[in-house]
């Protein structure tokens, strides 16, 4: 017989913070100020945002700081002289407005879920315990590859490398650095796909990326991407070599 007491749930997600994130705080400020999301008085809201994260002790939280920086940047952009006629001017607030509207819509769904969840919690289901005579349970659809895929996910998600003894392969940044150096010794330029073949394992891709960043930092090469997600052009940095 199993002692169910040990299995009783730990209390679930207790609300510790007043705001669930920087967008929540920002939306609250906008509501308190009774201003339009689409026409935010950015200087005023920015000032209040900074004051609130300071008073809430959130000044160390990366996501709040990131939002504060974004607001400051928009504030500066708003002060810049506008180039071109009115139609061509792109409002620096546009991206923030889009995100706030999206977030506000999601908060509406949250309110709905909250109501439905509270309503459901007011009703109790049939109590079933492990002490009851065990009934034949439904068949289970489960095969070995699924279990092994789960092992793989555990390895990826583990906060600490507690299972490091079964990590299939560690990163090899030094090896990747040697490969890239050898390649750039032969050719002045290369592409990322020259270094990492299509279908390479993640550890190889990651090793190559880290190696590139390290070599760029050391001034041995330059990396250029013509457009987001485009191929990376890698060039020997002759200036760095000469130094």
């Amino acid at each position: 017989m199993i002692d169910t007491a040990e299995l009783i749930e730990a209390p679930f997600v207790i609300e510790l913070e007043q705001f669930s994130g920087p967008l929540d705080l920002l939306l609250t400020l906008i509501r308190d100020e009774r201003v339009e999301i689409t026409d935010i008085p950015i200087a005023r809201i920015c000032e209040q945002f900074l004051a609130r994260i300071h008073s809430l002790g959130l000044s160390d939280a990366a996501e709040y700081l990131e939002m504060a920086a974004r607001l400051l940047r928009i504030k500066v952009q708003m002060l810049l002289p506008r180039h071109g006629s009115g139609d061509e001017w792109e409002d620096p607030r546009a991206e923030l407005v889009r995100r706030l509207l999206e977030y506000q819509q999601m908060r509406e769904v949250v309110d709905l879920l909250e109501r439905r969840g509270d309503d459901r919690r007011e009703r109790l289901g049939r109590g079933v315990t492990l002490i009851e005579p065990v009934r034949p349970t439904r068949p289970l659809s489960l095969a070995l590859p699924e279990l092994l895929a789960a092992v793989d996910r555990v390895l990826r998600m583990a906060r600490k490398p507690v299972l490091h003894d079964i990590v299939p392969r560690a990163l090899d940044v030094d090896g990747a650095i040697e490969t890239i150096r050898a390649l750039l010794h032969l050719r002045a330029t290369a592409r990322f796909s020259d270094i990492v073949s299509a279908g390479a394992e993640p550890w190889r891709i990651l090793s190559a990326l880290l190696a590139l960043l390290e070599l760029a930092r050391r001034g041995e090469l330059r990396v250029r991407q013509r457009r987001p997600f485009g191929t990376m052009d890698i060039a020997r940095d002759t200036a760095g070599e000469a130094a």
Binding site: E9, V13, G21, Y103, E108, V110, L112, G117, R123, G127
Partner: protein, 180 residues
């Protein structure tokens, strides 16, 4: 009550979760879908008019017997049963995004919420409210998440379609922020 209604009551009473409709139908292979629907109606009406402490509710593509709300506090006070904990609003935000955008990856959720959601996802996974439903293309093949039947169960939704459509929400996303 009719024999079919009695059989359905026995099956519904013995389950702590909603019993899927196809399972209820399988109880009596000779009964038509209409007969099962009628017997469920009969049972629901019996609970509603006969003055019972329980009621029959349609949830997550099935049916479940639940206690009536007026008794919950009393039952909880004498510790015969406990209500599940409420979800935090951060957890609800994450769930709402996943419900509307599934299958969705972690990066996209963080983009909308503006905060890191790694530990929140682990908690929701552990609670069985979401699950990994696939892998995206691209570096590292990030996992994609979707809601589970337990999500519908916890919010007493019959199906996902019961959530308002995006354009029915007060703030419709489609409308671009007006040009200033």
């Amino acid at each position: 009550m009719t024999p079919l209604a009695k059989l359905l009551e026995a099956a519904l009473f013995s389950s702590g979760h909603p019993v899927p409709l196809d399972e209820l139908r399988a109880l009596d292979p000779d009964a038509s879908a209409a007969a099962v629907a009628m017997a469920l109606d009969e049972l629901r009406e019996h609970y509603d008019t006969g003055g019972h402490g329980v009621e029959l509710v349609e949830i997550a593509g099935g049916w479940q017997i639940l206690t009536r709300p007026e008794f919950t506090e009393t039952i909880e006070r004498v510790q015969l049963a406990v209500r599940p904990q409420r979800l935090s609003s951060a957890a609800l935000e994450t769930l709402a995004i996943i419900a509307y955008r599934q299958p969705i990856g972690r990066a996209e959720i963080e983009e909308i919420r503006g905060v890191a959601v790694g530990s929140m996802l682990r908690t929701l996974l552990e609670r069985g409210l979401i699950d990994v439903v696939g892998r995206a293309e691209g570096l590292g093949r990030p996992m994609l998440y979707g809601t589970t039947p337990a999500f519908l169960e916890q919010f007493a939704l019959r199906h996902l379609g019961e959530l308002p459509r995006a354009d029915e929400l007060a703030v419709a996303l489609r409308s671009e922020p007006r040009a200033l």
